[in-house]
């Protein structure tokens, strides 16, 4: 097995993670064998388009999947196997070990509680301290996430805040129990661009200050580049390429990563037409036999449809690709 981190024991390690949902008489194979290691304090950008399995992968780490989901493979966090945790173990994992921020703070927060109460609850769920103490800490957290007039905001309700402020409160709630890993699921997608950058910089600052590891799920390559040390590109429920952010973006190896990056850069072909990726995303009704990208791939060979390419080292530092015809060998 590959060790991407080269830094001893990873904080989080996913091995052959799979998630399958029951749907009608069949199944949706959302995640199909994801391997990922995350070092303490490291940020990985999990990049992919709709249906790539990036959010499901993230949610499975917290075991936040509906009952119709079948989880396979291994998830170890800080040495413990998350897949084996009981209700109590999960409760301490969520919050104390791992915090999470979502795209929609209003959905994630209880609108009948004030901002202060939400943070106090999050603190007291994992620590036995008095309400007064917890409230003091809540104020510190609001200051940490740079909310102006933080003291006054403790008594505000979520719906009274602007989008950017709500997102800051959700980050404060996620940080309440000092997690060692923060899972971020498109937390800036609904925000305006001038607000988005404030939140991205805030997350990066907090992550560095506390040595917290982070997995940041996004479809936006620019956003991923802004926050990530390493990128993992997902397609059809698998990681197809992983490597240091700068290196991967400058010279991707996987034809899908290559296509996605040129589309995002607005590259045009010789005829002046914008370059996209022809075809449509894979159907997930069946577990993939070969590479899910093969039907859309300009470089596909016979082997691509027959067997699944494993994620293997490319020779460049910490770089791996799951492709029989990666760019460097083409």
């Amino acid at each position: 097995m590959l060790d991407f981190t080269n830094q001893g024991t990873p904080l989080l390690s996913l091995r052959d993670l799979s998630v399958r949902f029951r749907k009608g008489k069949g199944h949706v194979h959302a995640v199909n064998g994801v391997d990922l290691d995350l070092a303490p304090g490291e940020t990985v950008g999990l990049l992919g388009e709709s249906g790539s399995g990036k959010s499901i992968t993230l949610r499975s780490i917290m075991r936040l999947l509906p009952d119709s989901a079948a989880l396979g493979g291994k998830i170890s966090f800080d040495g413990q196997d998350v897949t084996q945790l009981n209700r109590r173990g999960l409760r301490s994992l969520r919050g104390a070990g791992i915090g999470m921020v979502f795209q929609e703070p209003l959905v994630a927060m209880d609108q009948t509680f004030t901002v202060g109460d939400q943070i106090v609850e999050a603190i007291r769920a994992h620590e036995t301290i008095s309400r007064g103490e917890a409230r003091k800490r809540a104020l510190e957290l609001l200051e940490l996430v740079q909310i102006p007039s933080a003291r006054r905001r403790l008594d505000s309700f979520p719906q009274e805040l602007s989008g950017g402020m709500r997102q800051r409160v959700m980050i404060a709630v996620a940080l309440a129990a000092r997690p060692r890993l923060l899972l971020a699921d498109e937390p800036t997608t609904a925000l305006d661009v001038t607000v988005q950058i404030q939140i991205l910089l805030l997350l990066r600052e907090i992550q560095r200050e506390f040595g917290m590891a982070m997995i940041f799920v996004t479809h936006d390559i620019g956003v991923a580049a802004q926050v990530s040390d390493r990128l993992a590109v997902m397609y059809g429920g698998r990681i197809v390429e992983s490597g240091p952010a700068g290196q991967l973006l400058a010279a991707p190896e996987h034809p899908y990563a290559e296509g996605l990056i040129s589309a995002a850069r607005g590259h045009r072909d010789g005829a002046g037409r914008l370059m996209g990726i022809p075809g449509r995303p894979p159907r997930l009704e069946q577990a993939p036999q070969g590479c899910s990208f093969a039907p859309r791939c300009p470089r596909a060979i016979g082997a691509c449809a027959e067997s699944l390419p494993e994620l293997v080292a490319t020779g460049r530092t910490d770089h791996a690709v799951a492709c029989y015809v990666p760019t460097s060998r083409g």
């Binding site: 388009e49 709709s50 102006p148 602007s162 989008g163 950017g164 402020m165 305006d192 661009v193 001038t194 607000v195 988005q196 950058i197 404030q198 991205l200 910089l201 479809h219 936006d220 390559i221 620019g222 956003v223 580049a225 802004q226 990530s228 952010a245 700068g246 973006l249 400058a250 296509g259 996605l260 990056i261 589309a263 995002a264 850069r265 607005g266 037409r273 914008l274 370059m275 996209g276 990726i277 022809p278 449509r280 995303p281």
Partner: protein, 360 residues
């Protein structure tokens, strides 16, 4: 030989000739009343507040700006989906509601059509694709057979084979295919101006390019004019000839896309562009260009709308609403772009801006 979408019987004729802008908008205003607080103090959201612009024939005008800037309200006012409080709308030289030489709302809506962001609500889930595209034609009085033929032709033009797709339902299509149906439907009555309001925003990047290419083809082949609204500044740059930057119901800056993206003259445009994360991790943004969220345009005080967030704001910005001033081909509503405004940095700002232009 592809069949053209414009026909004798459908669509409005070109009356003004090529030099006549297809659309002229003058001093458009919409103030929504809101009640806030327990006592219900009446306030007004100045959603669109004195917006004037023109779109040339065959041109694409992009509108960018953040939530609450009035970009979507502006498009709704153009189609009279929301009634404007004030302002003139002149389509191909004919004023809306402008008497004998004017244009009626019914005609205007045939001349101007809109494509919205793809969502589960934009297409009737119980109707077949062919019927969805036929509907505006039937509503315009086209008989069933002709409408069916034309709808098939339109589906073919947007890259959906009518035999393969005409009998499907919206949920059986991918996001990119659904957006093609939305485009075909908008083109049914042969409009001359198509308003694309976040029309590719819900699509994945890898699919977006195909839809943008389709829009470019249709524009070239049919001589269409586009008003393209998006929060994605990169996409707007790709498709627009000219760009209009809006902030709190007003135009901050309007001009050729290339000039505005390369040498933004308004401090807001500069901040907006500087906030877009680069695909190059070596060019990470170190400081947010603006603090806080965009404010609400409720009962705005006089003066420049941007001054509360502007690092260059001075007394004059608070006292006087900046009028648009031409700098080259761009019109900028900022006191720093007007030497006579009394802003202490006007000369330096303008010199730097014109020097950048000369260097380019």
């Amino acid at each position: 030989m592809t069949q053209h979408i414009r026909t004798e019987s459908l669509g409005l004729p070109d009356v003004g000739g090529p030099a006549q802008p297809l659309l002229i908008v003058r001093d458009l205003k919409k103030h929504f009343p809101v009640r806030s607080g327990l006592m219900g103090k009446a306030e007004k959201v100045h959603a669109v507040d004195g917006v004037s612009f023109r779109i040339g024939k065959g041109e694409t005008l992009g509108i960018v700006g953040e939530s609450g800037c009035g970009k979507s309200t502006t498009t709704r006012l153009l189609l009279d989906l929301t009634r404007r409080d004030a302002g003139e709308i002149i389509f191909d030289g004919r004023g809306l509601g402008g008497g004998r030489d004017g244009i009626s709302l019914k005609e205007l809506r045939r001349g101007m059509q809109m494509v919205f962001q793809d969502s589960s609500t934009s297409l009737n889930p119980r109707a077949r694709i062919l019927d969805i595209v036929m509907f505006p034609l039937r509503a315009a009085g086209v008989d069933r057979t002709k409408a069916r033929d034309r709808a098939s032709m339109l589906l073919d033009r947007v890259g959906l084979h009518p035999q393969a797709f005409g009998h499907r339902f919206a949920h059986e299509l991918s996001g990119g295919q659904r957006q093609r149906v939305n485009i075909a439907r908008a083109l049914a009555t042969a409009p001359r101006l198509v308003i694309l309001d976040e029309a590719v925003s819900a699509l994945d990047k890898s699919v977006e390019a195909d839809v943008l290419n389709l829009l470019a083809d249709l524009k070239a082949e049919e001589g269409l004019t586009y008003l393209f609204i998006s929060h994605d500044l990169g996409v707007v740059r790709e498709v627009s000839d000219r760009v209009m930057v809006m902030y709190l119901g007003q135009i901050a800056e309007i001009g050729p896309a290339e000039t505005i993206y390369d040498r933004p003259g308004h401090p807001y445009t500069r901040a907006l562009l500087a906030a877009v994360p680069s695909l190059d991790p070596a060019k990470q943004i170190a400081e947010p260009p603006l603090k806080g969220d965009p404010p609400n345009p409720i009962n705005p005080e006089p003066g420049c709308r941007f001054r509360a967030r502007c690092p260059y704001a001075e007394g004059v910005c608070k006292a006087i609403d900046p009028a648009p001033v031409p700098v080259g081909e761009v019109e900028i509503s900022c006191h720093m772009c007007n030497r006579a405004s009394g802003h202490s940095q006007a000369a330096d700002w303008l010199d730097a801006l014109t020097k950048e232009t000369a260097d380019a």
